[in-house]
Amino acid sequence: MRWARDRSSSAGGLGPGRRVGLPGAPQRHHVAKRPGGAVQCDLCPRHCVIPEGQAGDCRVRINRGGVLYAVTYGRPCAIHLDPVEKKPMFHFLPGTSILSVATAGCNLHCKNCQNWSISQADPETVRVLSWTQGEYGVSPKRLVNLAAARQVPSIAYTYTDPNIFYEYAYDTARFAHASGIKNVTVTAGYIEEKPLRRLARYVDGSNVDIKTMNPRFFEENCGGQLHYVLDGLVVARQEGIWIEVTNLVIPTMNDDPAETKKLCQWVLKYLGPDTPLHFSRFYPHHQLRNLPSTPVETLIRARDIARDVGLHFVYIGNVQGRDFESTFCPTCGKKVIGRVGYTITVNNLKDGKCGFCGHPIPGVWK
């Protein structure tokens, strides 16, 4: 595959500030004019006030002549066909593939980011596929066509964060729904309420990271305010989006049992006991390469805490060879959906109910 830009894709680079920029698409919603030719982006809680010729914190929204441009519109840096279990979405069309799309940039800057090479890079320096050249290289319709041609039932906006390529995700999601294709966002949930509600009309499922319940850790590690994420989750639930929560357990950083318990109690209270919760194993990445991988015992302890709190569907991810990812019926305890890695080994789900006792298993099953 040839690349449109064959320069380094290493993270860092220019960051927010003055740059030439790519053409992009104008941001027409969630933006306000400010004195002196500046514009304010109201997509995420940062509310960046961006002077002429400069980019916001996310690097991908640039003020050009008093108009804010989303320069990654139609310029995906990754398109994959993944198992839906990889997102992870375990109660969402199990065993199907999902067309997964990302563009460069992110509005959070997590030190542990696993996809830092694209999330923390400038859009001008991230490799973009050669066929995405042009004003809007891969249009939303083209993405939907691709999913339809592959008979893929859903599209995921993932890897970085759909809040960054909001317009692209929104347009694609709209076309996808019109074609009978579902939409999934995999996100850190750092978005304002209005744009979230607007996008939610076309979103069927979402995996949201609750990175911690410690606001200070969230600020120091990710550069954001935690309460926006939690508020957004409540809004997403109100909008009827099927939500699964992921918590990446990082040794010494957010693995305290008391914090885990607090997280589980919050999920139970605001999202309900049937919300799937994924404890994901940390591997050294980006700026936290000094830390070891999460011990499996820590993850098992977290799972047990969640079950004790009252959550019905708790999973452990990024651990191979153990039966941590199967769905068990909360009533009869039998295995309803068996998973090994990203493969479905057993599916005893009948019309959204346990095949053994008939207890409803919540999720998006068709």
Partner: protein, 99 residues
């Protein structure tokens, strides 16, 4: 090429006449060699044209990927006219992405 060759030939003939008074109209020993080179170049022309016609410059100066070489298939029934279906090799990007 043809014009240049004709002009060159004429110059040689004129030069020979001026130097040798017509005794040696073809004093340049390289001339026959140049003619052979010209004929060889002429013989190569169809090959060059063929390479150009098949987009061979890219093959000569850069490796083409399967995705670039693969024909884009038409959109299946039910899709908007002119829709393009991407090939398998076009589903790509950085590897080992989480999420």
């Amino acid at each position: 090429m043809r014009f240049l060759w004709t002009s060159h030939t004429r110059r040689m003939e004129i030069g020979g006449a001026s130097r040798g008074g017509g005794q040696d109209l073809n004093p340049n020993p390289d001339r026959s060699m140049r003619r052979r080179e010209f004929l060889a170049a002429l013989a190569m022309a169809p090959v060059v044209l063929a390479i150009l016609a098949t987009g061979g410059l890219a093959r000569l100066f850069g490796k083409r990927s399967q995705a670039d070489a693969a024909p884009r298939t038409e959109a299946p029934t039910g899709l908007p006219p002119g829709a393009v279906v991407l090939t398998e090799a076009e589903l790509t990007g950085p590897h080992n992405l989480a999420g």
